[in-house]
Point group: D2
Chain length 370, copies 4
């Protein structure tokens, strides 16, 4: 109940600090019989790994995952899967100076008041480094979902700072460090280079999508599928907003246009983002998140120290000038964890439900459209 577990039936408990000996997680509730190896997990970890372009932190972490339990002869056994990632490149000296003051926009102030003690090394527990085990757990969930339902999870950047990024195609996403769905990212690179020179940082907007999700996932009243997605995504470091489907644009829509019509061939639009009444419709689940600018910037900031006295803070160390750049695979992993959890919850309660009429098929739509 101290908040380090996500999910109820596919429950992932995360542990570790940025500069402690190791980070990792324990997955409890994974169905047995799933073929699983470290290579299955490593691929996703590598997508969020730091140090892969000049636009992200230069910390070098191989993020090599070790499966400690729950897998026997290459298959999950139904018992907890413990995943371990050793920290290797901790330069704790970088952080000694900031232990005595609170960085604006950081969790320093709140951790210190909450716990009365704080691990200042690399942000300790509040570091985005702790998303690595989440990505690892998400890799297990997406593998099971893919094999069981054909579910596909993907995401892309749709805005960075002031620059809106058009959707040209999913095929571009793996080929640039921004996870941008465009062929040419030179404008983004120029933008980031200028920002870095200015000692500043910027935010980003990320879109994440799950296709081929079975109809019926999500629990009224409170644990709606969209509510749990919002919980997972808002819980990601630096996220300040979450939208499902049409999101904030729906405020200005009319009922005659927002409500997605149905035909025997499928839904005719997807303003709902694949969720109605908190339950999946079988359409693509669409979510979008706002990520704030990185708080760790080299420009001096006005703050106070732990004695309440004024202090100027300059954050050195190795930081992402836009934490949103590496957020796409993390958001995908979080969405996978939520869908996975609800898939198990659904068959627990409704495993005997059979319909004479199957769900309507998804209407083929332009890729990237809502």
């Amino acid at each position: 109940m101290s908040g380090n577990t996500i999910g109820t039936l596919f429950a992932v408990t995360n542990f570790g600090e940025s500069h402690g000996p190791a980070i990792g997680c324990v997955i409890d509730g994974c169905p047995p019989g799933l073929a699983l190896s470290e290579a299955d997990i490593q691929a996703d970890l590598d997508r969020r790994r730091p140090g892969t372009s000049r636009h992200v932190t230069q910390r070098q972490e191989p993020d090599q995952v070790e499966i400690l339990s729950g897998v026997y002869e290459g298959r999950t056994t139904g018992t907890p899967i413990a995943l371990l990632i050793r920290n290797t490149d901790q330069r704790s000296k970088d952080y000694a100076a900031i232990a005595q003051s609170f960085r604006p926009g950081h969790a320093d102030y709140t951790y210190w008041h909450k716990y009365g003690v704080r691990d200042p090394r690399g942000g300790g527990r509040s570091s985005a480094r702790l998303t690595a085990p989440t990505v690892a757990a998400g890799a297990v969930a997406r593998k099971w979902l893919a094999e069981r339902y054909g579910t596909v999870l993907r995401g892309c950047m749709t805005q960075i700072g002031d620059i809106a990024i058009p959707f040209e195609g999913w095929e571009h996403v793996p080929h640039n460090p921004f996870f941008a769905p465009v062929a040419d990212v030179s404008a983004l690179e120029d933008y980031m280079d200028a920002l870095r020179r200015a000692g500043d940082s910027c935010g980003a907007r990320i879109r994440v999508q799950a296709t081929r999700v079975p109809v019926g996932l999500g629990e009224p009243l409170f644990d709606k599928l969209d509510a749990d997605i919002a919980h997972a995504l808002m819980g990601l470091n630096a996220v300040k907003g979450v939208e499902i489907g049409a999101g904030f644009a729906s405020v200005a829509q009319r009922g005659t246009t927002h409500g997605d019509s149905l035909s025997p061939e499928g839904f005719l639009s997807n303003n709902a983002g694949g969720i109605l009444g908190g339950i999946s419709t079988g359409q693509d689940i669409e979510a979008s998140i706002a990520i704030k600018p990185t708080s760790s910037i080299i420009s001096p900031r006005q703050s106070i120290d732990i004695h309440g006295q004024p202090a100027e803070v300059v954050t050195k160390g190795r930081h992402d000038p836009c934490v949103g750049i590496r957020a796409t695979p993390i958001a995908e992993a979080l969405l996978a964890l939520v869908v996975m959890d609800h898939a198990l919850r659904q068959r627990a309660q409704c495993g005997d439900v059979r319909q004479d009429v199957p769900p309507i098929p998804a209407v083929p739509r332009t890729p990237g459209s809502l």
Copy 2:
């Protein structure tokens, strides 16, 4: 785990259907010794009650709450508080026609596929009527929070359809049916009248705020305070987006402006919305939600029936043309429930933490500003 409970330590389990005999909830975990009567709860229920203006559903429900347990001689005993609200004005005949087809934008389709059975009377479990017990539970939470910490929860409408509503002052909110923070709501009334004549509906944007929240509430890693707020608010019927603090605007901000500076007199801005690293800072907690247009509209819509055949749907009955109009007290209640739960979680784990230096005071700000 079927999703009808919100909160872990202040746990509220909701039950009932729109046209069943009764709706209600059970609050488990309320601290003992709180003075509590039905009148304390009724005041909040009356704020969300239907039938109070021409702009909302004309269903007449007194929403009279009965405390069934957990209170002895006017004080909570620490045992479960069961709250009961009898349904009185059910016109189920209105809904007979729609039992065979799926209303666009409604939960009909998903409930039917999830459960294989569906209570069509008034939307059954998916009705916004089920927010009444939530408001009732929220009233208990806000009373405890007010007495213990001086916490105040309030909300207002900031946009309806296309119309952005400026913030003139909290004092206006109780004096108009929109919970709008403006003196003159004639423009809103004209807008709604035209919409109703057109047989259409619109969305709304609601802001909700908690002041005097103690520093330190919220649990890393997953159950961050903002994550739990997002879960609660996105779980409210018709909500498609949630923002904390600067929200989606933070995407285009720079780190030098977004990160709230600190001084010995307090934080100098509140882009964070009162939460850093998932933990309350002591500043005002600020959240904003997008509510989609009501799906129940009189204009005919294209759909299918339960056999998969084409069907035209016209929704009669008594509906809110903008469900956002009555959403403000519900959003306040949900925020109260989340803050309450985390207040108990905080003292469970960190009840012994004492700081030599107290939290910095909140800087006096213009009311309504972030």
Copy 3:
């Protein structure tokens, strides 16, 4: 988390006090489509009802249950089932005298220190009256289990005070007020009459059994099926001991006799009580509980008052001289709730597991034997 909910997927939240307006529960997670009416529940409630013989409390409570939600047109909908039982025969004046002192063996002392406030009317929340909603919820579980798996739950008294009760046959159990598996209960009646005349009370031992439980229910490591049964049964008022299978007799057994051998025709004994490694074997689940003597006795007892001063306590009112007499249907209900919960948990995680070789059949055994 305040302990008033049992079960994780079939979650029953109990509310009410002995002399409050009502008692009841909310069942969350019941599978949809189960035929259910108040009559289905009432039958079990009538079995535990007070006032049905001279050997139990003379309080007259019809214990009429009302289904408030979760059932539509005679079938469960998958949404929460709220069950309400109004209290009718509260004679609170009986309890006024004891509000100022602590009855030995009662929860008075602990409630007062825990909560700082205490509802003394009829024991308030600590009254055995609160087992009525548990029985009601258990009736729903056993109906689903019976229809889905053919599971049968039954129990009987095996000892009352000093008198061990031989097992003559299940068919006798419904025909005497003791739930004793014997044709002639005159010895038990004489024993109880003498005890009542002496103003004293005695304990009892109850056996409870579930047959036709599917193999595979129960979760290692902590939520073993036997662990959850122990939790449920030890949580019943006045229970001081729980055994599974051979129970405490297994201490003096040898491994060569205790371990139940297997043959193609089935297990050859059932010292395990139907559970190995915390998981059901498909054999009968067998549990046994020790119930302490009723604390509410008319004989004067030495105690203290709420100011810490010596006080003599005489408990008047209407009490069971042996609370074990009515415990059998309650223990059955609790066992049903645990099995039900684990049936849902099992198909959540392992719903895809298929074995080429089915479980071995249960070996026909003498009824009543382990």
Copy 4:
């Protein structure tokens, strides 16, 4: 929800298999500021370690614990404490022969049917080796409880096979391999030597006690303190029975003797075992468990193979002839975990409760007496 977590606020998630790379646990919810090092934990681990006498398994495991997270500069930070124990002495070849058949009294049969797959090496997940992380977590709990309340946890063996062990004094417990409270254990040694020569095994009875537990711990209705203790202890491998206080002896007691009288100087007896109405009284908490004879014996047993055909099973490998011998520190750890969890739950809900009259002191009693 797959049962590998114990506790709600002090939540311990266990992972690992007997012959996998490692075992361990994650403790979520530990209060910050507790001084903690690996040495604090190692002492308890060494008490349950195998290979320390001829009466237990000869497997040699150093059981060296590593703290991976949650501790900074020697103090807990309030974030998850991950504990890792590498397996070193796995002789998996010993188990190859048994992978095809089901050992009587073992979890082989149930795991195979539940999960469809089974790690046969050393019993996999069902091995008593998995109690090591529980002992490690318990060490953290007991340290906090000792510092906060002066709580002391201790246990001893009270029966082995047919031999009842008298209580001579706690001081003898650390000085013999049986955790027996007697000066001379030669009779026990002779008994075990004979048993081992016979290729057989026996059961044991263990008593466990917590002193200086604050009054008020435990949650009605279902999560009573005794219910949670029963859950924890029955969840320990091989346990078939749990008693609180007078336990099964209370069946034959009268109300006039069972109910513990109170005086201004304290309770006059402790049949309740320190718990009334599910809530701690402040007296010693007393529990007792029955442990079945080890199932892994060298004598041939009748069984079946995974194809349902008859098979004779002989269990070689290194096994404890009485698993109860090493159970005492484990039972203490489990009791510590339950008390710890309820200590946090109590201050969450009732942290503001203040009594004018303090709890009555515990009456000095003969050590070892109930």
